[in-house]
Amino acid sequence: MFKQLGFLFFVFWQIGLFSIGGGYAIIPLIQEQVVDTYHWVSQKVFTDIITISQMTPGPLAVNTSTFVGIRIAGIGGAVAATVGCVISGVVISLALYRFFCRHRESTYVFEVLNGLKAASLGLIVSAAATILMLTFFGISEIGPIRHVDLAAAAVFLGALAALRKFKINPIILMVITGVLGAVLYGL
């Protein structure tokens, strides 16, 4: 039992350690370990996990580790896999952040941080472009546009106006857009 939990921890620790950038870039890495190497879940189930990850809150890596962990060793397995998956990222982030804060006067550190900031902003724009394409056209990669979701575009514009003009609370915004979605698409 403990051996199994330790093993789950170790495998997801490796996944967490080598997944820089987060998001969908790490799918192949997780797939290689969970599907190809250890056969913990089938390819079909793995695809389902990704779909569910898109539908539920939380990072993809955390969602996958919970899902796989619970199937292999119950709740203990879910916790072991999740902790393994996040621990190295958190520790390294804290160390790097402390380093940057301490050596802020060093011009090189300052420049590196400036570079990282600009690059990460570019990456945020890239993530936004993917979300916008999914929302408006229902596609996640550049390709022929088959249909335009006008209802979603209206919700998007309304939400953006509410944010810019009235500084609406984001969680209330999520609830409102969720209800709008249920009315527009569910009925």
Partner: protein
């Protein structure tokens, strides 16, 4: 002591909340943290948030969890980091735990899909709102290199699917190179002045 306890409790609650409502992955956490940590509680400023976002982006692991831990650390030290990290992973842990049992029914449910489609439009608005403000902050630095880096990193990632780690390394290298050239120029300049 009571103040501190209150801050810990707030950190736990807010991270639980943020994590439970961030559909669509890591970056959506950035506008959420900004709203609550920067605008509401003023625990740190926008520039510090951009530092944290950059660090959580450039280190391994989930951006959302890394950022939550950094924000917690900045607000309340090591204890804050641990509390925020636990709060950030708890909602997905519970939700996925439940979903994993009935996942086929969940994935096929029309109403759930409809709610999530609406929320996706909301998430898109949140992230665009953040980008507008963050780009303004970078423009204020008046550095052509940094200004060009944003569309450059975007194009590399979105259009050409370049590895994220590579993008980050190249941008850092460019900044260091610029610094080096600037220092060299300065040295040459002061030497020529001394000669005269």
């Amino acid at each position: 002591m009571k103040e501190k306890l209150k801050l810990y409790l707030w950190l736990f609650g807010i991270n639980l909340f943020i994590s439970a409502f961030t559909f669509g992955g890591g970056y959506v956490v950035v506008p959420m943290v900004r709203k609550y940590f920067v605008e509401k509680k003023r625990l740190f400023d926008e520039d510090a948030l951009l530092d944290m976002a950059a660090v959580s982006q450039s280190t391994p692991g989930a951006i959302a969890v890394n950022l939550a831990s950094l924000a917690g650390y900045r607000a309340a030290g090591a204890a804050g980091a641990v509390i925020s990290c636990i709060a950030a992973v708890t909602p997905p842990l519970i939700i996925l735990g439940i979903v994993s049992v009935w996942y086929q029914a969940f994935a096929a449910n029309r109403l759930i899909a409809a709610v999530l489609r609406g929320m996706q439009a909301g998430v898109a608005a949140l992230i665009v709102d953040l980008i507008v403000d963050m780009c303004r902050a970078v423009l204020k630095e008046r550095s052509l290199l940094l200004m060009l880096m944003i569309p450059g990193a975007f194009a590399a990632s979105f259009l050409f699917s370049v590895n994220v780690a590579l993008i980050l390394i190249v941008c850092c290298a460019l900044c260091i190179m610029r610094m080096y050239l600037k220092k060299k120029k300065l040295r040459l300049f002061s030497r020529s002045e001394a000669n005269e």
